[in-house]
């Protein structure tokens, strides 16, 4: 006993000394996702807790984070985007040929792949999937996954392992779109079913390293490893079957309870870690593994069809009027990043615009003064007709940082005479409210897609037209030309040039958007859990994950 006591005392003293030496640093060691040591062991169950209940398990339409997390683990895609490099690599397609116009994509498929019901994966499987994704099906109630499939003409089966996909316009982003979680390949029996039945766990036939063994809504989803799986992308950490026997994904809605369950050893890893829990968990020895979500950052999208955001000066002032350092210090943790462009730094083609995205309130005030906005008695500016400089913002409260971030911006903008009105709503209310035209000056959301094509998808008047550019507007055609350039080439240099031009157009020339921060997925895991990983769009994938036996 005495010896144990003295050992404990020694440890405490050592800890105190270490604490003093490191200046009582609170940051601790952040465990990077790559530094897991030791040879992987097979077997075991990973107990994983998430915030939101996955409801729609249809891989082609389940879009919430936990839904796409599950479908990312059970489906394979034709192409694989390397999460580290952003490169597009072979997966179910061994190779591909593309015509110079980027309208015809011919894929050469693997011939050794089977679905979880034993049927073979062939060129017909690809055609069946792509026709539903690109065209939808009225009888089955399936709407096409429009954003990624605009201009889809059809798929021709050339032979059992070759297909040709045709578009009526250049689609440089297509290879990357095929790697998205929306593009998972489903078996014939699943694709026959009407929309509602496709989302039921027992109906899912897929080719992935895991299958859904059990799914109880709002309680848990159990993934089981698929025996005989042998077609992982080459750049994964291993090939063959997954290490884990099962993954038990449970739903714990309360952030405090999720962290508590991890600390109490009831679960091995949790997603959706509260900002305030990151530092303490790190100190206690848990791994905090963040990955920035690639695509378009959380950004203030300014509408040009509505007063007063139709005024370039106002948009410019919104860009210059608030403090990014304060955002990083008071709202975000090191897992997140203040935006330095409208594109996430993880997207190939990203250009650092941070020197333009700086607070300069004096400059902002000069611009507003010059444009005829004069401060009224209450400190808010008015134009010559007496109309207030008031901006209605519509945002989603699905991420913990959103509301505090917008409030910070609101306070800063008030100082230069802009009255920002916040409406930060839950997803369904946001969905409904966003259909109200001519009501919002600013809409804020992010878009996860690790390809510069995301900019065309969101801002081009031919697509979502987020800035509501009107046909008569002189910049209407300019926007189409500038943004569509990224879809017209796969040449790395040319595409990078087009990407830079697109970012400059959106951020500097027209100020159609003011990016705020790059959201991240944050996983906290017990030290026994190794290779906590994400696919390119930052959905957890458990294929390489392994766990030390308990």
């Amino acid at each position: 006993m005495p010896s144990r006591f003295s050992k404990a005392t020694l440890l405490v003293v050592a800890a105190l000394v270490a604490g003093v030496l490191t200046g009582c640093s609170a940051s601790g060691n952040r465990v990077a996702p790559g530094d897991d040591t030791g040879p992987p062991v097979s077997g075991g169950t990973l107990r994983f807790a998430v915030l939101d209940a996955p409801a729609n398990l249809d891989p082609h339409s389940g879009s919430s984070y936990p839904e796409s997390l599950i479908t990312s683990n059970i489906t394979d895609k034709l192409t694989y985007q390397n999460p580290a490099t952003g490169d597009i690599e072979p997966w179910l397609a061994k190779s591909w040929d593309i015509n110079p116009g980027l309208t015809e994509f011919t894929f050469h498929l693997r011939d050794d792949v089977t679905f979880s019901d034993g049927t073979r994966f062939t060129a017909d499987s690809v055609k069946e999937n792509f026709d539903l994704l690109g065209l939808g099906n009225k009888q089955l109630g399936i709407v096409p996954v429009t954003a990624y499939w605009v201009g889809y003409v059809g798929t021709d089966v050339l032979d059992p392992t070759t297909v040709k996909v045709t578009f009526n316009r250049a689609n440089a982003g297509f290879l990357q779109a095929l790697s998205l979680y929306f593009s998972g390949i489903l078996g014939h029996s699943t694709l026959q079913l009407p929309k509602e039945q496709r989302s039921l766990a027992q109906n899912l036939v897929t080719t992935g390293p895991f299958t859904v063994a059990e799914h109880i809504y709002q309680q848990k989803t159990v993934l089981k490893k698929r025996p005989g799986y042998n077609w992982a992308p080459a750049s994964r950490k291993h090939n063959g079957e997954a290490y884990l026997d099962t993954v038990e994904i449970s739903v714990i809605p309360e952030a405090g309870v999720r962290t508590g369950a991890l600390r109490a050893g009831k679960v091995d890893a949790i997603l959706d870690v509260n900002n305030t829990d990151e530092a303490p968990l790190t100190r206690e020895g848990y791994r905090i593994v963040p990955q920035l979500i690639p695509g378009r950052d959380i950004a203030l999208d300014l509408k040009t069809d509505l007063f007063p955001t139709n005024d370039h000066a106002v948009r410019e002032a919104v860009k210059l009027g608030w403090n990014r350092e304060a955002l990083a210090k008071t709202v975000l943790t090191p897992s997140y990043k203040v935006s330095s462009s409208v594109l996430s730094s993880r997207v190939p083609g990203y250009v650092d615009f941070s020197k333009d995205l700086q607070q300069d309130q004096q400059q902002a005030e000069r611009i507003l003064d010059a444009a005829g906005w004069k401060k009224a008695a209450d400190g808010i500016r008015v134009d010559k007709d007496g109309r207030r400089l008031e901006l209605a913002l519509l945002g989603i409260n699905n991420l913990v940082n959103n509301k505090p971030a917008y409030e910070l911006i609101q306070q800063d903008l008030r100082k230069i005479g802009i009255d920002l009105k916040l409406n930060v709503l839950p997803i369904p209310d946001y969905t409904a409210a966003s259909t109200q035209q001519q009501r919002w000056n600013i809409q804020v959301a992010n878009q996860s897609r690790a390809d510069v094509a995301v900019l065309e998808q969101v801002y081009s008047p031919q697509f979502t037209n987020m800035s509501k550019l009107a046909q008569g507007d002189p910049i209407y055609q300019q926007a189409i030309d500038t943004l569509s350039a990224v879809s017209k080439t796969l040449d790395k240099d040319q595409r990078a040039k087009a990407a830079e031009a697109a970012q400059r157009f959106l951020l500097d020339e027209q100020v159609l958007t003011v990016p705020v921060y790059n959201p991240a997925q944050v996983t906290a895991a017990s030290p026994k859990v190794h290779n906590v990983g994400y696919e390119a769009q930052s959905r957890n994938v458990f294929y390489d994950t392994w766990i030390e036996s308990r």
């Binding site: 989302s199 309680q219 714990i252 309870v257 109490a264």
Partner: protein, 317 residues
């Protein structure tokens, strides 16, 4: 008596129909187009009018409202509330599948609540120390004013994370039921306790108690034998209120303790605007509510002789 029962039954059916109709109006007529809610907000203008029209036809939203209403009402009367727009599962079986969890939680919490209420009321009534009686009498007020989620998080922290006596989450077994039930019982016990304390207070000052005490009965004897009997009956009146408290509390408790159940299902359905599911839950709650009240209405005349005569005279007129 038969007419009394039929009248009450008619009232009950009317309430359920009313609940269905009001939710239909709220969900399908106001305030947004139900079709818009089926799509990802970020897809915005990319979803073509044709796609929306296809979805409208697929979900039967293209008929005129009266037609939709009658059609859905007819289906609902046969127990078919359609499929959840989120999960694709049929909503009525979905509700029935989570019902046992909530029934167990609510039942256990109710037993605990009644126990707590009586314990508090008896202590308050029995003790002669004035300040202690007053203190105990304020407990029910405290019970309702402390937020349920705070109680839940506190008991979790102590009994699950620190002491490790009970599992923090899930539905499996009795151990997982204890903390949620205690959490839920506290606010539910409050109105019952309050009523009992008032009635005990009035009862102890009644003439027949003075007589008993004069005859040499102890305070406890009087309390249990005489006062309790008379004070317990009105507690039945608040059964309906208690039921509401149980359901409302279950929403929070099931979320904190990650239990599947009707409360959490309701919360998610509302949050994700899963229209068929919300409607089925409202109708279900209405059915339960009117059933409880119907039973109370039937039981009351049996317990209270004064009501019995009133029912008889009214039905004989």
């Amino acid at each position: 008596m038969a007419r009394y029962v039929l009248a009450k039954l008619g009232q009950a059916i009317f309430v359920v129909w009313g609940a269905y109709t009001v939710t239909f109006v709220l969900l399908y007529v106001l305030p947004y187009d139900a079709v818009d809610l089926l799509f990802d907000p970020n897809q915005g203008d990319l979803v073509t009018e044709q796609d929306k029209q296809n979805a409208r036809v697929y979900y039967g939203l293209d008929h005129n409202l009266v037609g939709q209403y009658l059609h859905r009402l007819f289906d609902a009367a046969h127990g078919d509330f359609g499929a959840s727009t989120r999960t694709g599962e049929q909503v009525w079986p979905l509700i029935l599948s989570v019902l046992p969890q909530t029934a167990l939680l609510a039942g256990f919490a109710l037993v605990l609540a009644v126990f707590i209420a009586f314990a508090v009321a008896l202590t308050a009534g029995y003790t002669r120390t004035r300040w202690l009686a007053d203190l105990v009498a304020t407990l029910p007020a405290a019970g309702v004013s402390v937020p349920v989620f705070l109680v839940g998080l506190a008991v979790l922290q102590v009994f699950s994370f620190q002491l490790g006596w009970f599992p923090p989450t899930g539905n499996d077994g009795f151990a997982a039921l204890v903390l949620p039930a205690v959490t839920l019982a506290i606010p539910v016990s409050a109105p019952i306790g309050q009523l009992l304390i008032k009635n005990f207070d009035a009862g102890l000052r009644a003439g027949y108690v003075t007589v008993s005490l004069a005859k040499g009965a102890t305070r406890l004897w009087v309390l249990v034998r005489d006062v309790l009997k008379n004070a317990g009956l009105p507690a039945l009146t608040i059964a309906g209120v208690t039921f509401g408290n149980l359901l409302a509390g279950a929403v929070i408790v099931e979320t904190i303790f990650s239990r599947s159940g009707l409360g959490r299902l309701t919360e998610t359905a509302v949050r994700t605007q899963d229209v068929p599911l919300v409607q089925a839950v409202v109708v279900f709650a209405a059915i339960v509510f009117v059933t409880v009240n119907f039973l109370v209405d039937l039981v009351y005349p049996l317990l209270d002789p004064r009501l019995r005569t009133r029912v008889r005279t009214r039905t004989s007129v």
